[in-house]
Point group: C2
Chain length 552, copies 2
Amino acid sequence: MDLSPLQKARYEYQPKLPSMLRHEIGEIEAVEGKTTESVSDQEEIKKLFPNTYGMKEVEFKKGKSHAKKRKEVVGVILSGGQAPGGHNVITGLYDALKKASKENVLLGFKQGPSGLLDDDYIELTDDYINMFRNTGGFDIIGSGRTKLETEEQFAVAAEVCKKHGITAIVIIGGDDSNTNAAVLAEYFAKTNSGVQVIGCPKTIDGDLKNDVIEVSFGFDTATKTYSELIGNIERDANSAKKYWHFIKVMGRSASHIALECALETQPNICLISEEVEKKQMSLSDIADVVVSSVVKRAEKGLNYGVVIVPEGLIEFVPEVKKLIGELNDIVALKKDEFNAISEWDEKYAFMKKNLTAESFGVFASLPLEIEKQLLMDRDPHGNVQVSRIETEKLLIALCEVKLKELKKEGKYNGKFSTLSHFFGYEGRCAFPSNFDADYCYSLGYNAFMLISNGYTGYLSTISNLSKSADEWKAGGIPITKMMNLEQRSGVKKPVIKKALVELDGKPFAYFASHRDKWAVETCFTFPGAIQYYGPSSVCDIPTRTLSLEHQE
Amino acid sequence: MDLSPLQKARYEYQPKLPSMLRHEIGEIEAVEGKTTESVSDQEEIKKLFPNTYGMKEVEFKKGKSHAKKRKEVVGVILSGGQAPGGHNVITGLYDALKKASKENVLLGFKQGPSGLLDDDYIELTDDYINMFRNTGGFDIIGSGRTKLETEEQFAVAAEVCKKHGITAIVIIGGDDSNTNAAVLAEYFAKTNSGVQVIGCPKTIDGDLKNDVIEVSFGFDTATKTYSELIGNIERDANSAKKYWHFIKVMGRSASHIALECALETQPNICLISEEVEKKQMSLSDIADVVVSSVVKRAEKGLNYGVVIVPEGLIEFVPEVKKLIGELNDIVALKKDEFNAISEWDEKYAFMKKNLTAESFGVFASLPLEIEKQLLMDRDPHGNVQVSRIETEKLLIALCEVKLKELKKEGKYNGKFSTLSHFFGYEGRCAFPSNFDADYCYSLGYNAFMLISNGYTGYLSTISNLSKSADEWKAGGIPITKMMNLEQRSGVKKPVIKKALVELDGKPFAYFASHRDKWAVETCFTFPGAIQYYGPSSVCDIPTRTLSLEHQE
């Protein structure tokens, strides 16, 4: 393996643990707090989790350990999309486990949850794990999107655990994966298998968040990487003074990434999906927001700017949401008929016949390329692949039409040359920032503390994150505490509540109070590349979102 | 102005000068070397530059300065596309000029060469210049693409210089801008205006290079930024194991950027335009190179990978070059007729009628979107905008057709899911790496040394760059030394010879000797983000290209 200079240097980095986890393992006590309830639907969720509902919050403190004295055989799984720091969760877990006893074993199941079902694993060793310390990616054991949710799967998993004498499974994943972790924990408890399940909160999207989980890991590094690029583009726009850059960033359901990048870079416009939904904005309304900035800046001779667009935006536009829903239904109901059509004109006519007049109106108003993306690119279930829709280009096209009109009316006399970008894959596997490296290592280390203290159905939590690492707190919360019931494919299911951008929260409030100025003036800020070394003010800074949320 | 933590920290960075420039200005002597000749067409170029041809190379050494004792009023101009480090050229120039005498003045002409013609400038002061130290972008005075090339323009420039008592102009630009700098220097010499002209070698493309100019500035930072992103994507590909990523990188004429990124990241495939031209490869040949890797990796169960594509690639494909030439001619000759057509089908028919059968065959073989890009997106002169053509998507489409065929024949049984990216604007305005910060500061500082020693028509040179900064050499070469005659719009013109990737050079040789392995195995390397702090092995490394070229 050829290593870059940075990779070699990062191997030497020793992630920072919260001070309470720096004691000898025998001197760390699990202190239990209040009994918990789920965030809503308490009765129903209690019924679904008779063995793991209503458990107590846990915090680790210096004291006398009551940890079990047994050999631990832990299986670890990476689930879902990559997020920087995943490797450090595993190295932290490994280091704690080996510190407790050299006899303990860590098995890594390969390519996600399917590795557990297929009994496809490797035993992690010093030599192997050292190659992944403080690096990005999930390639240490790979990841996958198989969902662990059926009784049949659980039975297979139980067999595999029994075979290897596994005492606990650690699942590193997002809201869905941790929901499944809770169901698996309940199954293992119900069947007295003796296997514990601990989750770790991963997702660059930042939507796995609540009063205890202050942020999911990877959000820090991914947003810093996107902000680096957006800042560079802003500086280019400000130097060349001739392009409007439309930049789409990842974030399917929640706009946390877009918002954080906006706070870091102060672009002219940043759209927030949650606000679009709340205000029931149409595509035309959204374009108006951008056009207003373009026109006002043109009046000042500034024919350039930067617009940030969250990936999931159009799903939050009520008229488009309705259109996509109808499209999915039609293609599902009349699958064969639709698939038999090869010519575009016929497909178009088919849609005219089958969509409601309102939705067809929206469809017909879209640029041809977007219409094609809506009809052509479908996922294996036949659904529109929203992530493949080039929302940034759609927005450009909508603005062009409006600006042409305004020009005719003599209300606009600028130039509107555009460039579009999409940043997503660029940030998911970056070397974790010091924050994510420390946070993830602590999450993994702490997951072992929960295991050895006998907990199951818990999420590993490290909190007080806006402070320096030695002030961080370590503990665990029952996953059921974060649950509510939601309609999924027509059935009410217990799931972890997704944390969307709160329009009355501090990060959005800060943005909202500055954006009018940013829209017209040039207030760009340039964060630059993530620094792993240098002054602490440069290399140890949490996100603006986290700082604002936990401002005193 | 709101500043990021990194920007504040970078203000404190003191760029490193070559040791010979660290002496007091009165202790630096200009030592003249050999008389120079242009690289070819010596007689013709000598005739065109009677006053500035055949001057001697200069190197600065410790000794007794013979610099002129006069008040210097220097005008500085940024020309062409942004490149990281431009601000440092200006701060280096400013610091040397003020060190020589507080009376000296630096004027910055705004938005490129047009600022000189419009007499649009600002006088640079400590407070203003300090806001731009070690930052990216050209926003200190802006840049532009106006060309200084006519006698009328020169006369206006002379007037403006006279008005301000300007003693020298420093032009920071690429090969074209420095060609114009030489012509301007000749004009000023011929007319005895007393104004000197000094150029500085800028361009991220890396194609302004010869035995004295080891690299143009900005190449280091831009390629490191692209390599960061490519490495992150490689790690993502290697973790998810489901996508082939096609990544286009800037570099219109030369493939230095693509090659450097390949050396840094070891992708499965990197295409090199110069090789495509040399081997007279067709689009189909190029697709075969990629397909071969896709098929071989699929046999090993590796249905993912990374392909780097240089921006200018298709112009180097003989059949496409011919097609583009014909398209440009047809649209120029039959402009009104062509512009009157609005429907796509008619445009297509028009092309069928007017293109040669061979070129129409190539045109018709392209995906619809690319056909449209060829006909629709045209620059102000009516030419095809090659940079807007989505070569990366074209390549994907070509590979899909071939793989489908191979699947039918039972010769391929993999999956080919693709994603495409284009990196260009992301790297042009990054904070300059320590290398570019030091190099640019030295170039600017050294430009003042050339001015005060009375030189004109010279390019500021800092060489021995693969060594540490204190071993760097400072001097100047006559721009005419780098010139040859080339056909431009039907006329033979003296221009600086563009440095393309040498297929017998060491960087390409290294790549060529490893690429067969990279194509089949997974040899990705992950450079990570540019580091400005930390171990020198991490934050002071030159490009692989420079290291290989100057390997001893």
